[in-house]
């Protein structure tokens, strides 16, 4: 690890250590924040006892489903919109302001339509993630070398074949950025919806634990969500950096 990496690790360890000391010494009320070691211990006990595995499966399952749908549908829509330049121009202001609108305000509308099932949560996850994927797909397809379309014509390839064999690999580095963004937005969309209103799932259990003043359970699950989010996002980000060379941002 580089020197900067060690310093960063030290900063994080010191921050967590300071919180631990503050909690143990009684500067922080244990009804507000519990010590990080207690959080980790509570999480460990929970996992060892197999408690809440149903909720974990449900929440992470919805996240995975939402992200996969957003990626596949986003790529397909991106392909379609890229082939219709006038539609793309018309949709441009819509895409530009999409992430400016707090999309969660429509979650209660979805609940009113679909009821208290996983469906509105899944739809919120897809809605949050899909436009990032569409924009990344449009970006990537813009950068497909023109000669490849000519190659497709020479080999008399159909539209689907051209898309899968030529455009997809050529646009892959940019598409991967879309995958990275879609994953983190999908995660945020699903978790936030579960917090606002949900019959089950990790968000629901956390908000119930908050209402019951059950701090060990609440903090254990918050810790779990944070760990999963950080690991997945950091992993995808590191992987995305490897594609940066092909995007021309870094030299090999």
């Amino acid at each position: 690890m580089t020197r900067v990496g060690w310093i960063r690790l030290l900063v994080i360890v010191l921050a967590v250590g300071a919180l631990e000391l503050a909690c143990r010494a009684g500067f922080v009320d244990h009804r507000v924040v519990i010590a990080p070691s207690e959080m980790a211990a509570a999480l460990w006990r929970m996992i060892a006892a197999g408690q809440f595995t149903g909720e974990m499966t449900r929440t992470f399952g919805i996240v995975v489903a939402a992200v996969v749908i957003a990626i596949v549908l986003g790529f397909a829509l991106g392909l379609l919109i890229h082939a219709l330049p006038r539609v793309r121009e018309a949709l441009d202001p819509f895409f530009a302001t999409y992430y400016a609108v707090p999309i969660f305000i429509f979650y209660p509308v979805l609940v009113a339509i679909f009821g208290l099932s996983p469906v509105p949560i899944l739809l919120m996850g897809v809605a949050t993630a899909i436009v990032a994927m569409i924009i990344a797909t449009l970006n990537g397809l813009d950068r497909v070398p023109r000669v490849l379309t000519k190659v497709a014509r020479v080999h008399r390839m159909g539209a689907v074949e051209t898309a899968l064999k030529l455009k997809l690999p050529a646009a892959a580095p940019y598409l991967f950025t879309g995958v990275k963004l879609a994953t983190s937005y999908g995660f945020i969309g699903v978790i936030a919806s579960e917090f606002i209103l949900s019959p089950a799932g990790l968000g629901r259990v956390i908000s119930d634990a908050y209402a019951d003043f059950n701090n060990p359970r609440m903090y254990a699950l918050i810790l779990l969500l944070l760990i999963v989010a950080v690991v997945v996002n950091t992993g995808l980000h590191a992987w995305d950096q490897r594609w940066a060379e092909r995007r021309g941002i870094r030299k090999p």
């Binding site: 960063r8 707090p102 936030a192 917090f195």
Partner: protein, 248 residues
């Protein structure tokens, strides 16, 4: 048809398509689930002037104003420090980026435990969302100042104040303003999320409350009003950015 006229008609066509889709969805799911556009509009024309809406809108606006001031102040301070001090920037940037991609709503119960159901909790939560893009983009802006600018300032014997106001500020302004714009929308999102999850006033609270009372027209009116406000504010900020802060 000129290009601008064509683009405006195309955008209007998209809006009409959205309204038609709304109407069609209403026919599919029924009145109790989703009211159609026309009654919603007439309801809105009356509802927007009631005390209920105005009081809650004011509450949201006040909370948003505080949260925005806090995000801008903190974000600019952190951004300037991390941009100017290279080691802090190198150490802190991945931490900020990780925090940026985190679903911060998971930390909201912690904020609630610390601040209770008071305004300060919602302001803090909104600021948590807005600080990060402002800090990250300001840091980048300062890092990307071409070193030759500083040398030129020294060659011309500019004072510290003159260097800051005539060289550094104009050099960083476009990116900083972009950060402020993104901070605006994210702070609004944070404040609304806070109100939807746990509050007794505010437009977010109105939406969730209306849903719980099956007042669907009220719910969708507030949602559409917020959507229009956010879209208009963002369009205005974008226009300002292009008009006044873009490098030619």
């Amino acid at each position: 048809m000129t290009a601008t006229a064509r683009r405006t008609t195309d955008t209007l066509i998209i809006l009409v398509v959205i309204l038609l889709a709304w109407q069609a969805l209403h026919h599919v799911v029924g009145e109790t689930a989703l009211p159609s556009p026309a009654p919603t509009l007439s309801y809105a024309a009356h509802f927007l002037f009631t005390a209920r809406f105005i009081d809650n809108a004011t509450a949201t606006l006040v909370c948003f104003a505080y949260a925005l001031a806090l995000s801008y102040a903190l974000g600019l301070a952190i951004g300037v420090w991390m941009g100017a001090h290279h080691l802090s920037g190198a150490v802190g940037e991945p931490i900020l980026i990780s925090l940026y991609t985190l679903p911060k709503i998971t930390l909201y119960p912690v904020v609630l435990l610390i601040f209770g159901l008071a305004l300060s909790g919602r302001v803090t939560f909104g600021a948590m969302h807005g600080v990060l893009p402002v800090a990250l983009l300001t840091m980048n802006a300062i890092r990307n100042i071409p070193p030759v600018y500083l040398k030129a300032a020294r060659t011309m014997h500019l004072s510290k104040a003159q260097t800051v106001f005539s060289v550094l500020l104009p050099a960083t302004l476009p990116e900083v303003v972009a950060g402020l714009r993104i901070g605006f929308t994210l702070t609004l999102l944070g404040v609304l999320l806070a109100e939807m999850f746990a509050a007794k006033e505010g437009l977010g609270f109105l939406i969730v409350n209306a849903m719980q009372l099956v007042q669907n027209e009220e719910m969708i009116t507030v949602a559409v009003v917020l959507f229009a406000f956010a879209a208009a504010a963002n369009a205005l900020l974008l226009w300002m950015e292009h008009r006044w802060f873009q490098r030619t």
